[in-house]
Symmetry: C2
Amino acid sequence: MSNEAVWDRPEPPSKPSPTPLSRDLIVSAAIRLADEGGLDEVSFRKVAAALNAGPMRLYGYVETKDELLDLMVDEVYGEITPPAKSADWREGLRHVAHGVRDAAKRHEWFIDLLSNRPHQGPHALTHMETTLAAVRFDDIDQVLDVVGAVMAYVFGAVRGEITELRAERSSGLTEEQWQRASGPYMQRMLATGRFPTLARVMHESSDRDSAVRFETGLGYVLDGIATRHNPA
Amino acid sequence: MSNEAVWDRPEPPSKPSPTPLSRDLIVSAAIRLADEGGLDEVSFRKVAAALNAGPMRLYGYVETKDELLDLMVDEVYGEITPPAKSADWREGLRHVAHGVRDAAKRHEWFIDLLSNRPHQGPHALTHMETTLAAVRFDDIDQVLDVVGAVMAYVFGAVRGEITELRAERSSGLTEEQWQRASGPYMQRMLATGRFPTLARVMHESSDRDSAVRFETGLGYVLDGIATRHNPA
DNA sequence: GTATCGCTCGATACACTGTATCGCTATGAG
DNA sequence: CTCATAGCGATACAGTGTATCGAGCGATAC
């Protein structure tokens, strides 16, 4: 019933055992499972089985499944490299943005764990710290606004990319956007004439690289910030 | 096994029954449950019970739980009013942004269903159509980029707001951001001195209205778009 | 060396999930 | 009135997170 967060509770001392365990082992096993088969593959039974242990054994290291997920998320934050100290705010934020995007693409489940609870693990905190520190504006409220807006865009954009990716994967591989439109339902919908702009998008838009689209959007946000808070 | 989407399958004809059923009834019961108790409250058993029916009865109207969730999502899209035809792109996008934010705040579970699968219900499609149509640029690729960026920001920002809201709710109501920092773990972390900027944010930043923060970020994005695609 | 304590591990159990199966029933046809 | 059919929903199954608690074992006390 300890009301403390995972980050507060020390790991239990390692006991001699045929199959040793630790938070690290558990978390990386869980991450491996999630990377390979999605979040559904992460259950106490399956994680424990991957470590040759009984499901209940995990409760010595982790109080709840949500805690395990928190630990997984924090591990991902740990993979994101901080921006160079010498970088100006624009460079710094672009670095962070791409760092988050890359990490989220390596671990597609990451984006699904965003709205669960706030990310307050040590790695998440240092990630927040270095990101905030990359914006050296005088007004701290402006720093918060700027970082908040960039992160909102990044998370939203990455979520979109991952969703699209999943959709393509689940309905015939290597299909392009307009290809999905040829599903019988979509085709009929577009044929109704009620969605002229959508139809134009489907037929006329060039399907561009997702990385380019991400960059373009990021450019909008950074440009907008620049117009408001020009170098003092 | 019909491989068609929900949107493709007509509703079964209504049979005379002591407790009549329809997709609408099911979906609105599910939405009511989700609004009140979160997505966990939405199970076939509970939804059916709310309609005085057995769980299996629902399968006549909906093939799978994911389909039910799709229908719920589409219903939310239906609540968002389209921008006025007379509005310019900036006005139009701001209208849509606030529409989405308001809807997502009314139905906090909405944001959790974003990464499941693409939203292709009729209401989602008309929402997409009117949003795209609000941006009358010549280059259709630019329209996509612009709408994509704004939507990415909106979804990301709303997700952040909801997460924060949930955190506050789950750890003592009416607590402010810095208040959370006084949890023993956070306080100790900040005391290490490893997070100077974060500490400054916690202590010095004025806790502003979330609607204002949303507006500020949205302003960045729209300004950035304006600098790139000025009124032709 | 033995006995006892205490603690940890994990088998079992419980409540819940989504959904496949399939016997009953109730309606419609002849 | 009898029979066929179709849909409803009770039952069942495999899975989930986790509470409980008995067994076994290591350490300590005498």
